[in-house]
């Protein structure tokens, strides 16, 4: 058993309006492990992910990334984030920019200051972006305007952007819930294959229980900001699901 990439203990976050989004969760992820979190909308799944990369500063937490204690100062966060890829529900790509430029945005953490104004990237950055495009199967589309692509392709641009970071940890927030079921399964399946292949630790928030069952190594059930279930897909029976989604849940 290898050392965990991420160790989260006693993570809690209360938003400024008083919403207790996360109320003390602890878990860890190992290299190559696909961890899925399931639960109702508003259960706190997104907040957990955003606390890990410091987009949201948690009220209270002890997080270790690659064995190192995470701090919340500006400079440290920039260095932390460039090793953590993030995939968004709404893709969050710039539709007016080309596919390649969007993927290169994953290299911003490595871009020297003088190169910034002219959208310049080093050969090393272009190499990483090209490799990421190849992994998601969009090499031929590199010059197209991202807005011209289909939804599934746009999310693959989002995946490539995260992979271009050459991350040690991948966070995906409902990565396929704005895609149709067939495309969703394809995109997620492809993402999971890449992660396993590269021994990449991955946390995926998922809406669809069947997808979590199919692709996750381990599942966390989140309810009202707390982890109420932790186990393998096989352990996820109807009783557990009713505990997470309420008594009306039916398969």
């Amino acid at each position: 058993m290898s050392a965990p990439v991420l160790e989260v203990s006693e993570l809690a976050h209360t938003y400024s309006d008083g919403t207790k989004a996360v109320q003390g969760v602890s878990f860890q992820v190992e290299p190559g492990e696909i961890l899925a979190t399931i639960g109702l909308s508003g259960a706190g799944k997104s907040t957990i992910l955003r606390c890990i990369n410091g987009i949201v500063r948690p009220s209270k937490a002890k997080i270790r990334f690659l064995g190192e204690q995470v701090r919340w100062d500006y400079g440290y966060l920039l260095r932390l984030r460039r090793r953590i890829g993030f995939i968004f529900q709404n893709f969050n790509i710039l539709e007016k920019l080309s596919v390649l430029t969007n993927v290169l945005l994953g290299r911003l953490g490595y871009q020297p200051g003088w190169a910034m104004p002219l959208y310049r990237f080093s050969p090393r950055d272009r190499e990483a972006a090209t490799a990421a495009l190849a992994k998601v199967g969009l090499l031929k589309e590199w010059h197209k305007r991202s807005g011209e692509l289909s939804g599934g392709q746009q999310q693959r641009v989002g995946v490539a952007r995260a992979l271009a970071q050459e991350p040690r940890l991948l966070l995906a927030d409902e990565p396929v819930s704005s895609l149709d079921p067939l495309t969703a399964d394809q995109v997620l399946g492809h993402l999971v294959r890449i992660c396993r292949n590269e021994q990449l630790a991955t946390i995926i928030n998922l809406h669809a229980v069947p997808l979590a069952r199919k692709y996750a190594d381990r599942i966390l059930g989140v309810l009202d900001g707390r982890i109420v279930f932790e186990g393998t897909p096989a352990q996820l029976d109807l009783g557990v699901l009713r505990g997470i989604y309420g008594e009306e849940y039916d398969e």
């Binding site: 984030r81 893709f91 790509i93 710039l94």
Partner: protein, 279 residues
């Protein structure tokens, strides 16, 4: 659950009425009456009288006829001045774009209202925009003519300063309307504050910024003609001169050149802006 089968024809329930409704109705009537009264007052104060148009046209028939005979001999000189007018507008707009571009980020609510110093900067910048808009270009032109003397440079400065107020406001509001998603994406991949502006925001606003700038140039060309009348360069000054010397043939030439130039540039700017909208 209500039944999906309608047993009778559905009727809209009555609109909820506030107890203050009769008061509001009274206020509406009063307000309408005030507006109508002010319009009547304005007609009286301005001596509005369409009959004067007919009468005046008959009295000055001879002079007006001269307008139909433009003197083409001075067309070359006037075209040069028209070009100067366009150049004044171009430089004025350019100065305004360069100043208002960085300020616009400081004047955008969504970027600035999160921190204490940000708030202060936001209010200062927005206040500057309001003040600059209040300085009408003609007022500014008079000021700059006093400062730097008669001529086109005063016009450039007047348009530049006034346009900062207009463009800054439009640019800031464009930034306020962006999609926050790509901003978060840039942050999440380790981008710093400047990279957020340059990669997360700029691509979203660039086409609109360009369209606003071209439109502003278009407006500034018209304004620059008026500024000429107060001595701030370009073709405008000649209008005043020909008028006061009753040289209506030359005035006619100037009119036609202005009309043609403004029409062509108006059309060109609209064409450019629609092209920007499509990309």
């Amino acid at each position: 659950m209500s039944s999906l089968l309608l047993e009778s024809r559905p009727v809209l329930p009555p609109r909820p009425r506030s107890p203050l409704a009769p008061l509001w109705a009274g206020v509406k009537v009063l307000f309408t009456a005030l507006v109508v009264a002010y319009i009547v007052l304005a007609l009286w104060h301005t001596g509005f009288n369409p009959w004067k148009l007919v009468e005046g046209a008959q009295r000055t028939k001879g002079l007006l006829a001269e307008l139909l005979h433009p003197e083409w001999s001075i067309a070359g000189q006037l075209l040069k001045l028209m070009n100067e007018t366009v150049e004044i507008a171009l430089l004025g707009t350019l100065i305004a774009v360069l100043i208002s571009f960085p300020l616009a980020f400081l004047g955008a609510k969504n970027l600035m209202l999160r921190s204490g110093p940000g708030r202060v900067a936001y209010f200062i910048v927005r206040f500057i925009f309001i003040i600059l808009r209040a300085f009408e270009p003609v007022l500014l032109a008079l000021l700059f003519v006093i400062m730097v003397g008669l001529g086109p440079f005063a016009g450039v400065m007047a348009l530049g300063i006034h346009s900062v107020g207009m463009l800054g406001k439009l640019f800031s509001e464009t930034i306020e309307g962006i999609d926050q998603g790509p901003v978060e994406a840039v942050l999440a991949s380790g981008g710093n504050r400047f990279q957020v502006m340059w990669y997360g925001i700029l691509p979203q606003v660039a086409p609109q910024f360009l369209a606003f700038s071209i439109y502003r140039w278009d407006i500034n060309i018209r304004m620059s003609i008026v500024l000429g009348i107060v001595g701030a360069g370009g073709i405008g000054y000649m209008l005043l001169q020909y008028m006061s010397l009753f040289q209506f043939g030359k005035l006619a030439t100037a009119f036609l050149i202005i009309l043609a130039a403004v029409t062509i540039l108006d059309w060109a700017s609209a064409w450019l802006r629609t092209r920007l909208g499509q990309t």
